[in-house]
């Protein structure tokens, strides 16, 4: 009997010790990120990370620069990038913001890319990255090829016919509702203008109103927050789901007193 108690106590303390050791591991800045790819150019490694796999809609990207010789992280640099979709008959880019010219506290350079199309049969995405290393005063170019961009139904085109009957295309994406819950959900709407196939400037002067509806019930919800412009074409607001089920969310976009149109999304949970 005594032996058994001793054994149990021993096993217990062993588990405790092992458990403690486990939690003493260093936390890596990129541990929670997903490595999209690595590219090398002339003594410089560029690692590209994102919060999750790339998808149609708003993606936050992180660049980590490492000097191959010294294995040191480079935190003083200027990075620019150009994602391009290669299709059979044409190429096009997508809205991009950044990276920031200064690295974050983990030494990573952050940027935002709004993918407007999924990779696959229709074409492939690559991202060309130019780096100016301030420390070494060197220039580098790397290309991340064949990026996998998952399809979502969170990107819509808002087509507006202006006074001169010119068609203006706004690209709208809805983000933040991958895991919707009952209650108030934070959401980010991005709005960019499709100026050319290569240029997608942000649109900052819009007013957006939100209207969620539950078609099976015929009611909406209370407590929604109309998205308001913050930065980089982003409009942040909130949608309140009063219950689970199939919801539609209408965003009505206006510029001054002129209504540009409405985009509708569907959420089912």
């Amino acid at each position: 009997m005594k032996l058994r108690i001793l054994l149990i106590a021993l096993a217990g303390s062993l588990i405790m010790i092992l458990g403690c050791e486990d939690s003493e591991k260093d936390i890596d800045a990129t541990e929670d990120l997903i490595l999209i790819g690595s590219a090398v150019d002339n003594e410089l490694t560029v690692d590209l990370y994102s919060d999750e796999g790339l998808k149609v809609g708003l993606n936050k990207l992180y660049f980590e620069l490492t000097d191959i010789a010294s294995e040191d992280q480079i935190t003083e640099a200027q990075i620019t990038q150009k994602p391009i979709m290669h299709m059979e008959t044409m190429n096009h880019s997508c809205p991009v913001a950044g990276p920031e010219s200064t690295s974050n506290s983990d030494g990573l350079f952050e940027s935002e890319v709004v993918f407007i199309m999924a990779s696959g049969m229709m074409g492939t995405w690559d991202d060309t990255v130019f780096v100016e290393n301030y420390d070494a005063n060197t220039f580098h170019t790397v290309v991340f090829e064949n990026l996998t961009v998952q399809e979502t139904d969170m990107k819509k085109n808002l087509v507006f016919e202006d006074a001169d009957t010119n068609q203006v295309i706004y690209i709208v994406t809805l983000n933040g509702l991958d895991d919707p819950k009952v209650g108030l959900n934070d959401l980010v709407l991005t709005v960019h203008k499709k100026q050319t196939m290569m240029s997608f400037p942000e649109v900052a002067d819009l007013s957006v109103s939100i209207n969620p509806q539950m078609p099976d019930m015929g009611h909406g919800s209370e407590g929604n927050v109309d998205p308001v412009y913050t930065e980089n074409g982003k409009y942040e607001g909130g949608v309140a789901f009063s219950m689970t089920g199939y919801w539609t969310i209408d965003f009505t976009v206006s510029q001054g007193s002129e209504e540009l149109g409405t985009v509708q999304y569907a959420v089912n949970f």
């Binding site: 108030l184 099976d216 009611h219 209370e222 089920g245």
Partner: protein, 745 residues
């Protein structure tokens, strides 16, 4: 708290210790059943001294040294007198066994809690098919809210739900239906009921803080007997209108040291027809109830009691709602120890611990799809556990102190799932796992200051801790209350004072003042989009609601004689922070007109009168009657309060003889045009109904019960009925009672 009560005891007892008195402790029981007679009058001849038997038939009276004659009387029983010689500082025991004057009536509803005005006793003949609600509704000032033919909700002077405290043998229990379709009274079978203790407004606060009143249902308890014996009874009944079948049994084993009782009832009813011969759909139900009790004497002074209640209802139709109840289930257990005379100052003590669980499943699977091709479920669950300690302190009936410390915990969860065809299920949490803890301290002091004047003071303090624990439910409420942590701590204080004056030997006049408070209910504080079919709005709870408070003044007068009793009560209530639903949106969709939020509705008032009479013309004829009237107003909304009964009259004439009784009773109400428009009520037309019933002893141990309800086939509904659904039309019933008397002992 304890310090204060000790101080009070010293203060109270100080005065009486000086007097040269002795004490008489006694009990009043029914000679034929051995059951205690609640409210029996005890009078000391050639003096002004007197008292009434309490819930256990017990009384205590303090007498000056010398010889005295004590008489005990109760309507329906032959009075008994006992001589007693009192010696200073000593206690005399006395037992009064009263014999029924005519045949024994199985069902007596005893009404207690009207405090020092004495105890009102209703002599109401019941049939085997009567329900607990039927019994309760015969009490002056009590009405029933009907949502179908099952589980009608009691309302005291127009106040119901969270404004009332309902307990079973002192045990707290909370209905699990978000639409209040399962008031606690629905889980108790009338056969198992011994008496109903009622307090109006905040005049009785022993069982909890309240503004509207309290209802304590006391169940039949196992009995002792001088020799070991077994009693059994079987009843069977049939109602023509609803084709209700009822079967019930009871089995009692008694001995000098212990008692065992088992009883059960099964009833099943189909949809009934109203007077216009139209079947009222969704009024059928099926129900099974079981009760078990075990009582054991530990010694001369103490005993323990163990009780179990189980109640299951299936397929209960609710005609006034778009949904029915698949099942409603109660499981309840209680254990108590009580003792009398532990020490000279502690006259009685009781400790009780209890727990119960209610599961309630509401769905519309039996209904045609009302809208959008979808069915829905609305399950609800409550769990409650608690304990209390009662102490009765004092040296004489001239000054007594009753103390209660109580505690309970309750948890409520409900949700709602809708299943649209070809689309995802839609779910929401409607009671977000609300946990509530309550700790209360109650004290009541009774004293005869000078002969003819009785004073009764009660004080109650409650501490409530409430919180919403379900994460999804929290997220839902945070839409509306983003900064609220959905947790609250409340301190409630209630008090009342009664001053009773025996103007003459027959005329008792009582002036009462009460100040009550009540917690917002789970629905009012944390409910989420709960549908109310009366006004068609969805109701949102409000965790910021203040505690509702009431001030109450009441003047009761009663005249008693050997032939009967007449009483008149006048009352006035003023509420502050009256909790009321305010329209927030009138955007109608499918079944709802919009949504409302519970708000502090400001000041509300209720005033009214109750008049009742009981008269025995001869040994065979008894007349009983009453009139209630009240008015209400909600200042801020410039509207009347909802669910306020109109002018009501009721009366019965009973003929009793050795072998049978016959009773004709009537119930009527005037037009209620003071309907609450904000709550979506309609005016309700007047009606008058007539019932006839009787009972015949065929053989010893064999009884036949017959009757016709709604004799004149009135097409009517009452103002408190949801959805203006018609009550049953004319319907005859028959039942048979068989007991061990048939064995010829």
């Amino acid at each position: 708290m304890q310090l204060i009560s000790k101080f009070l005891i010293i203060l109270i007892l100080g005065g009486s210790l000086v007097a040269q008195t002795g004490m008489v402790v006694g009990q009043v029981v029914d000679r034929s059943t051995g059951l205690p007679l609640v409210g029996a009058n005890i009078m000391v001849q050639a003096s002004n001294l007197g008292t009434a038997a309490d819930l256990e038939g017990l009384f205590i009276i303090m007498l000056p040294e010398g010889n005295a004659i004590i008489s005990c009387s109760m309507i329906g029983y032959a009075p008994v007198t006992h001589p007693v010689s009192v010696i200073t500082g000593e206690t005399r025991d006395l037992t009064f066994e009263l014999k029924p004057v005519t045949i024994e009536s199985k069902h007596f509803v005893t009404v207690q809690g009207e405090k020092t005005s004495g105890h009102m006793l209703g002599h109401l003949q019941q049939t085997n098919l009567s329900t607990t609600e039927n019994l309760i509704s015969m009490i002056e000032g009590v009405s029933l809210i009907a949502r179908g033919s099952y589980a009608q909700e009691p309302s005291i002077r127009g106040m119901s739900g969270g404004r009332m405290n309902v307990t079973i043998n002192g045990m707290k229990s909370f209905g699990a239906c978000t639409d209040r379709m399962d008031p606690i009274t629905s889980y108790v079978e009338a056969d198992a009921l011994n008496s109903i203790e009622i307090g109006k407004g905040a005049l009785s606060i022993q069982h909890g803080s309240t503004v509207g009143g309290s209802l304590n249902l006391t169940m039949n308890q196992p009995k002792y007997a001088s020799q070991q014996s077994t009693h059994w009874q079987i009843k069977g009944g049939l109602d023509h209108g609803s084709r209700e079948r009822k079967f019930s049994f009871s089995w009692n084993r008694t001995s000098p040291g212990s008692g065992l009782s088992l009883s059960g009832a099964y009833r099943k009813a189909e949809d009934y027809a109203a007077a216009d011969k139209q079947i009222v759909p969704f009024t059928g139900f099926e129900k099974m109830n079981l009760n078990f009790g075990y009582k054991k004497r530990l010694n001369q002074k103490s005993q323990l009691l163990f009780e179990l209640v189980s109640d299951d209802a299936y397929d209960v139709g609710y005609s006034a709602l778009p949904m029915d109840v698949g099942y409603a289930r109660l499981r309840m257990a209680g254990f108590s120890i009580n003792t009398s005379g532990i020490s000279p100052n502690i006259l009685k003590a009781e400790w009780k611990v209890y727990g119960n669980a209610i599961d309630h499943w509401m769905d519309d699977s039996k209904r045609e799809l009302l809208f959008m091709d979808m069915h829905m479920d609305m399950p609800g669950f409550t769990r409650t556990a608690g304990s209390y300690i009662d102490l009765l302190l004092g040296k004489s009936a001239q000054s007594l102190l009753k103390l209660r410390s109580d505690f309970y915990w309750t948890s409520s969860y409900a949700d709602m799932v809708m299943y649209p065809e070809g689309s995802s299920p839609m779910e929401m949490v409607t009671w977000p796992g609300v946990e509530r803890w309550n700790m209360g301290q109650f004290m009541e002091y009774q004293s005869i200051i000078i002969p003819k004047i009785n004073v009764n003071l009660s004080l109650r303090y409650d501490l409530f801790h409430s919180m919403a624990t379900n994460e999804m439910g929290q997220d839902e409420l945070h839409i509306f209350y983003p900064d609220n942590d959905l947790e609250r701590l409340d301190h409630l204080l209630s008090a009342n004072a009664h001053l009773a004056y025996n103007v003459t030997n027959n005329w008792n006049s009582v002036l009462s003042f009460a100040s009550g408070q009540r917690m917002p209910t789970v629905s009012e504080a944390y409910g989420y989009y709960l549908y109310n079919p009366v006004d068609g709005y969805l109701y949102l709870g409000n965790p910021d609601l203040p505690v509702e408070a009431s001030q109450q003044v009441e003047w009761q007068n009663s005249l008693t004689s050997s032939h009967g009793r007449m009483s008149l009560n006048l009352y006035f209530y003023k509420f502050s922070h009256y909790i009321f639903g305010q329209i927030m949106s009138e955007d109608a969709f499918s079944y709802a007109n919009g949504w409302k939020k519970y708000v502090d509705g400001g000041v509300a008032q209720i005033s009214g009168l109750e008049w009742s009479i009981l008269h025995r013309f001869s040994p065979h004829f008894i007349f009983q009657g009453g009139v209630n009237y009240e008015e209400s107003y909600l200042d801020d909304f410039q509207d009347f309060l909802p669910l306020i009964p109109p002018l009501e009259v009721h009366g019965s004439l009973t003929y009793e003889s050795r072998r049978f009784w016959v009773q004709m009773d009537t119930r009527g109400a005037a037009l209620q045009a003071n309907n609450s428009k904000v709550s979506g009520e309609n005016p309700t037309p007047a009606f008058l109904t007539l019932n006839l019933k009787g009972e015949l002893d065929l053989l010893p141990g064999l009884k036949l019960n017959l009757g016709v309800n709604n004799l004149t086939n009135q097409l009517y509904h009452e103002h408190l009925d949801w959805g203006d659904v018609y009550r049953p039309g004319r319907s005859g019933f028959i039942s048979i009672t068989l007991d061990n008397g048939i064995m010829g002992q």
